[in-house]
C-alpha cells in the first residue's frame, strides 16, 4: 500500500467483511471501469521527488532581490524570517475554512485582525478576509458597484494593470456591464476632463489606480470631486504605498481593492498572492467573500465567527453576492504576520525607501539622458523612454543577474520603446549603479 494510505491487508479484509462484500470491486456498483491504469509513471519515493523538483526549480533563473528592478504588480520586498516560520505552522496550513468556529479561533482571530489592519491601511470601514488576487478583487468590486447602483457602465482608468483590466472584462462579459477606459493626461494621471465627459446616468463606478500601473499617484481628491456622489469610486491601491499616501478612505473612495503580494508574500511566479477588498459599512451586504466578526461565547468570552453568510453561495446559492468559496486565507495570515512584525514604522520605512530609491534611479537615468514619460508624482515605479534595442539590453542584463526595468510593450502592447522601472527597499545603491552600467 502507498505510504500515505494506512490500510493493511488484514484491515481491508476486516472492513470488507463488515460491509458484507467479498471484494473492493463489489463496491463499484454501476460504475463503469473505463481504465485499467493511467498512462502515468509509477509512484516515487521522497528522495527522488525532492531531487526531481529541485532540478526543475533550478531550471528557473532567480535573481538576488537587490538586482530586481521589475515590478508591474509583483514586487520583491524583504520578508522577515518569522513570517514563513509562523505561516507554515501546519495547524494553519492544513485547517479548513472555519465552519466550526469553536475549534477555529486561530484562523478566525488572525483573519479578524487582518481585516482590521487592511481597514487601517486603506482608511475603510470593512474588509473581507481575502480574494484570489488583485485582478479578481477588482472584478468583484465592479460587480459590487453594479449591485449597488444597478447601472451598466464602468469608467476605468486606462492606467490600470492590464491583467486586472482583462480579468474585469472577462468577469463582466456575461453580465451586460460595459467597461470604458479613460486615458491619461501627459502627466500620467487620469484625464479628468474626459472622465467628466463620459460620466452619465448609467455609470455605476469609476476605477483608478493609486498609484496607477505606471507608479503615478492619482489625485483621488480631484477625482472624487469630479464625479457625482452616487457614482462609486473604486481605488486599486498598492498597499505598501499606503504607508506614505493618504488613505483612500479619507479621500472619498467607496471600495479599495488591490494585490497584497507586496505585504510579505514571495513573488511565486505570480500566484498565490492575495486580493484585498475593503469598502464602507453601508455596502457590506453587497460585498463578496468571507467576513469574520467578533462575538461572545455562552460564558461571555470573546470569540470570532464568520458573519453575514447569507450573502454567500452556500446559503444564497444562485442569488449570492459572489460564487467565491475557497479564498486566500493563508495569504491573509501572511499579510497579517508581515504587518505585525514590520509595524507602521517599518511599513513606512519600506515605503520611503522604495520611493526614495526610485527617485534616485530616475534622477540617475535622466542624468544619463533617459527621459521619463510622465511628469506627475510617482511612488516606486516610473515609465521612461528607451531605444529600440532595449529588449536586447534587457535580456543581456538578465544574463548578468539583473532583472531590469520591464520593456513595457510586452504587457501594454500600445506603449512601444518604454520601460517600467521599479525599486523597493531591497535595492541598494550598488545594485542601482550596476544597473546603470548596463543602460
Amino acid at each position: 500500500m502507498h505510504r500515505y494510505i494506512p490500510h493493511t491487508e488484514e484491515e481491508i479484509k476486516e472492513m470488507l467483511e463488515e460491509i458484507g462484500v467479498d471484494s473492493i470491486e463489489k463496491l463499484y456498483i454501476n460504475v463503469p471501469k473505463t481504465i485499467n491504469e493511467y498512462n502515468l509513471p509509477d509512484g516515487k519515493d521522497e528522495f527522488t521527488i525532492r531531487r526531481e523538483l529541485l532540478k526543475l526549480s533550478k531550471e528557473n533563473v532567480t535573481f538576488e532581490p537587490e538586482n530586481v528592478f521589475a515590478g508591474a504588480g509583483i514586487y520583491y520586498h524583504y520578508i522577515p524570517t518569522v513570517v514563513n516560520h509562523l505561516a507554515n505552522d501546519q495547524k494553519f496550513v492544513t485547517a479548513y475554512t472555519p465552519y466550526q468556529a469553536e475549534v477555529s479561533q486561530g484562523t478566525l482571530q488572525a483573519l479578524f485582525e487582518y481585516q482590521t489592519m487592511m481597514c487601517e491601511l486603506t482608511g475603510m470601514e470593512v474588509a473581507n478576509s481575502s480574494m484570489y488576487d488583485g485582478a479578481t478583487a477588482l472584478a468583484e468590486a465592479i460587480l459590487t458597484a453594479v449591485r449597488v447602483n444597478r447601472k451598466e457602465k464602468i469608467l476605468l482608468s486606462r492606467a490600470i494593470n492590464p491583467e486586472y483590466k482583462q480579468v474585469s472584462k472577462t468577469y463582466c462579459s456575461s453580465q451586460n456591464i460595459k467597461i470604458e477606459e479613460i486615458g491619461w493626461e501627459k502627466s500620467g494621471q487620469i484625464n479628468i476632463e474626459t472622465l467628466k465627459e463620459k460620466i452619465d446616468q448609467n455609470t455605476s463606478a469609476v476605477v483608478v489606480g493609486y498609484p496607477n500601473f505606471f507608479g503615478i499617484i492619482e489625485d483621488l481628491q480631484k477625482i472624487r470631486e469630479a464625479i457625482p456622489e452616487k457614482v462609486l469610486l473604486i481605488v486599486v491601491a498598492e498597499p505598501v504605498a499606503l504607508s506614505i499616501l493618504e488613505a483612500p478612505g479619507n479621500l472619498g473612495a467607496d471600495i479599495v481593492v488591490g494585490e497584497g503580494q507586496s505585504l510579505g508574500i514571495t513573488p511565486n511566479f505570480g500566484g498565490p498572492g492575495i486580493g484585498f477588498f475593503t469598502t464602507r459599512e453601508k455596502y457590506v451586504r453587497k460585498m463578496p467573500g468571507r467576513i469574520i466578526g467578533e462575538t461572545k461565547d455562552i460564558d461571555g468570552k470573546k470569540g470570532y465567527v464568520m458573519i453575514l453568510q447569507t450573502r454567500e453561495q452556500h446559503i444564497r446559492r444562485g442569488k449570492a453576492t459572489s460564487n467565491i468559496c475557497s479564498n486566500h486565507a493563508l495569504m491573509a495570515l501572511v499579510n497579517a504576520i508581515y504587518m505585525s512584525i514590520m509595524g507602521p514604522e517599518g511599513l513606512k520605512e519600506v515605503a520611503m525607501r522604495s520611493y526614495n530609491s526610485a527617485h534616485y534611479l530616475a534622477k540617475k537615468l535622466e542624468e544619463k539622458g533617459y527621459k521619463l514619460v510622465f511628469s506627475a508624482p510617482f511612488f516606486n515605479e516610473f515609465l521612461f523612454h528607451v531605444d529600440e534595442n532595449y529588449a536586447e539590453k534587457w535580456e543581456n542584463m538578465i544574463n548578468k543577474g539583473i532583472l531590469g526595468p520591464l520593456p513595457v510593450e510586452k504587457i501594454f502592447p500600445d506603449l512601444s520603446n518604454m520601460a517600467l522601472g521599479c525599486t523597493t527597499e531591497v535595492n541598494t545603491k550598488e545594485s542601482i549603479e550596476k544597473l546603470l552600467t548596463h543602460l
Binding site: H2, I5, L56, E246
Partner: protein
C-alpha cells in the same frame, strides 16, 4: 488578547539593511500625503511569534485530527510537498521574466496539465483558476462562449440538481444564466424524467458532480450525457468528488465536456484555512479554443511556452498563470502516488466510506442506504424529534471528543444530516473511534440532552453566538474599547 492590545508605540521588530542612497525630495502634494499612522501593531519578534504560535494551537487541522467533512476531501497533506513548493527556484520568480528563464516552472505546469488531462480524460486544460468555484465560472463562461460562437443566443438556462454544491448555481448566475434546479429522484440521483422536462433549446449546460453529494454514483450518466448533448447543451463536471473515481473511470469517458478539478481536494494540497486552492479546468477538444489564455504548450524542441494566441478565448480569469505554488504541490503529489497509488486512493476512499457507513447506520439512518462511493449522508432527524438535539449540537459535541464535525445541513434535500467523507488517508482505527464517539453522543443526547445542546466545553471558546454576530456585526477591532 488581540495583537493590537500587545502594541506599544515605537516598539520595533524589524531591521532593514544598511541604506546609503541620498535622500531625494518628496514631491507628493500635501493632501495626498498620509497624516495619521495606521494602527498596525507595534510589537517585537517575540510578541509576533507567541501570538501566532498560540493562535495556531487554537485551530483544528488535518495535522491535529480527523476531518470527516463531506465533499471537502480533507486528506493528509504530505510534508514533502510543502518543502518542494518552497524551493527558491519556485517562489522567487517573477511572472514577467522571459519564458526562457522559467522553463522549469513552465515544464512543471505543462506536465501537470498533461497528467490531469490523463486523469480526467480531457483534451486540454487551463491551470489558471484559483479555486473550484473559480473553475466553475471559467467552465460556464466557456459554455457561454461556445454557444455564442455557434450563433446560438437563446440558451439562457443552466440546470443544476437540487443536491448540487452552492457554488454551481452561484457560478452559473455570475455567468449570466438563469439557474434551473431539478429535483433528485427517490434514489437520490438525477430524475431522468425531470431532466427530460427541463432540457429544452434554452438550456446551455447541465452541471453535475459524479458521484453526487450524497456519495451516490449517477449510474445513468451515459444516458444523461446523451440527453444533454441531444438537447444541444453541454455537460459540466464539478470535480469536487473526483477522489472516488481515481483509477476507475474518468469524467471524459462518461461524456462530460468540461471539468474542473480541486487540486486542494483530490490532489492533496492543503486547504490553508480556506485557501489558496487551485481549480484547473479541462475541456474536450472542441472547446479548447475558448479556454482562458495563456495555455501551456511545448514546441518540437522541448521548449515550454505560454501561448496567448487563442482568439476565441474567454479572456483571462485572474492575473498571471494561477496559483503556481499550489500546482507544485499537486505535481509532487501525483508523482509521489503514481498510477498505482492513485488507484489505491480511489479504492481506499470508497472502502473507508462504505465501512464507516456500515458503522454509522447502526447509530442513525443513512439517507440513501445504497453502497456509496467516497462519502454518504446520514440523518439524525429521528433523534431530533425525540430529544430536541439537533445535528448542530451533535457536531459541537464531537469537538469535545477531539473530532471535527462532518459537513451538516447539506445537501439541502436531507434534513438534520451529516455528510461524511473519511478519505483514504484515515485508518480503520480512526473510523472505529469516530463511530464509537458518535454512539456515545447519541446516548448522551437521549440521557442528558442538555449536555449535548450546550456543547462544546473543552474547546478554546464555548459555543459562540453567531446570530448576534451577524445582526450587530463587529467587523474589526475597535481601538479604545478593549
Amino acid at each position: 488578547m488581540t495583537i493590537f492590545e500587545l502594541s506599544k508605540e515605537h516598539r520595533k521588530g524589524y531591521k532593514l539593511p544598511h541604506y546609503n542612497i541620498e535622500t531625494q525630495e518628496i514631491n507628493i502634494p500635501g493632501h495626498l500625503l498620509r497624516k495619521e499612522k495606521p494602527k498596525i501593531p507595534e510589537v517585537t519578534e517575540i510578541d509576533v511569534v507567541r501570538h501566532y504560535t498560540n493562535l495556531a494551537t487554537k485551530n483544528y487541522a488535518v495535522d491535529v485530527g480527523f476531518y470527516p467533512l463531506g465533499s471537502c476531501t480533507m486528506k493528509y497533506n504530505p510534508k514533502i510537498n510543502e518543502d518542494v513548493s518552497n524551493f527558491e527556484g519556485f517562489t522567487m520568480i517573477h511572472p514577467h521574466q522571459p519564458q526562457e528563464t522559467v522553463q522549469g516552472a513552465l515544464k512543471l505546469m505543462f506536465e501537470l496539465k498533461e497528467m490531469l488531462c490523463e486523469i480526467t480524460g480531457m483534451d486540454e486544460m487551463t491551470l489558471q483558476p484559483s479555486a473550484g468555484a473559480h473553475g466553475e465560472l471559467t467552465g460556464i463562461l466557456i459554455t457561454r462562449a461556445y454557444h455564442l460562437s455557434r450563433g446560438d443566443h437563446k440558451r439562457k438556462k443552466a440546470i443544476v440538481p437540487d443536491s448540487a454544491h452552492g457554488t454551481n448555481p452561484a457560478s452559473a448566475a455570475m455567468a449570466g444564466y438563469d439557474v434551473i434546479e431539478i429535483k433528485s429522484g427517490p434514489d437520490g440521483r438525477i430524475d431522468l424524467k425531470a431532466l427530460e422536462e427541463a432540457l429544452d433549446d434554452e438550456v446551455a449546460v447541465l452541471m453535475l458532480t459524479n458521484p453526487n453529494t450524497l456519495g451516490l454514483f449517477e449510474k445513468d450518466i451515459l444516458k444523461i450525457a446523451e440527453m444533454v448533448h441531444n438537447a444541444g447543451a453541454l455537460l459540466y463536471y464539478d470535480g469536487a468528488n473526483l477522489n472516488a473515481l481515481l483509477g476507475r473511470t474518468r469524467p471524459g469517458d462518461m461524456g462530460f465536456d468540461i471539468v474542473h478539478l480541486n487540486l486542494h481536494k483530490t490532489f492533496s494540497t492543503p486547504h490553508g484555512m480556506g485557501g489558496p486552492g487551485s481549480g484547473p479546468v479541462g475541456v474536450k477538444k472542441f472547446l479548447s479554443e475558448f479556454l482562458p489564455v495563456p495555455i501551456l504548450t511545448k514546441d518540437s524542441k522541448n521548449n515550454y511556452k505560454l501561448d496567448y494566441s487563442r482568439k476565441n478565448s474567454i479572456g483571462t480569469m485572474r492575473s498571471y498563470y494561477g496559483n503556481f505554488n499550489v500546482m507544485v504541490r499537486a505535481y509532487a503529489y501525483i508523482k509521489s502516488m503514481g498510477k498505482d497509488g492513485l488507484k489505491q486512493v480511489g479504492e481506499m476512499a470508497v472502502l473507508n466510506a462504505n465501512y464507516l457507513r456500515k458503522k454509522i447506520e447502526k447509530i442513525m439512518p443513512i439517507a440513501y442506504p445504497d453502497v456509496c462511493m467516497h462519502e454518504f449522508v446520514a440523518t439524525c432527524e429521528q433523534l431530533t424529534k425525540e430529544t430536541g438535539v439537533k445535528a448542530l449540537d451533535i457536531a459541537k459535541r464531537l469537538l469535545d471528543y477531539g473530532f471535527h464535525a462532518p459537513t451538516m445541513y447539506f445537501p439541502l434535500i436531507v434534513h438534520e444530516d451529516f455528510m461524511i467523507e473519511p478519505t483514504e488517508t484515515e485508518s480503520k482505527d480512526t473510523l472505529d473511534k469516530f463511530a464509537e464517539v458518535l454512539e456515545t453522543i447519541f446516548k448522551e443526547a437521549r440521557e442528558k440532552s442538555e449536555l449535548v445542546k450546550n456543547a462544546p466545553y473543552t474547546t478554546p471558546v464555548k459555543r459562540l453566538d453567531d446570530v448576534t454576530a451577524s445582526r450587530k456585526p463587529i467587523f474589526r477591532f475597535k481601538f479604545g474599547e478593549g
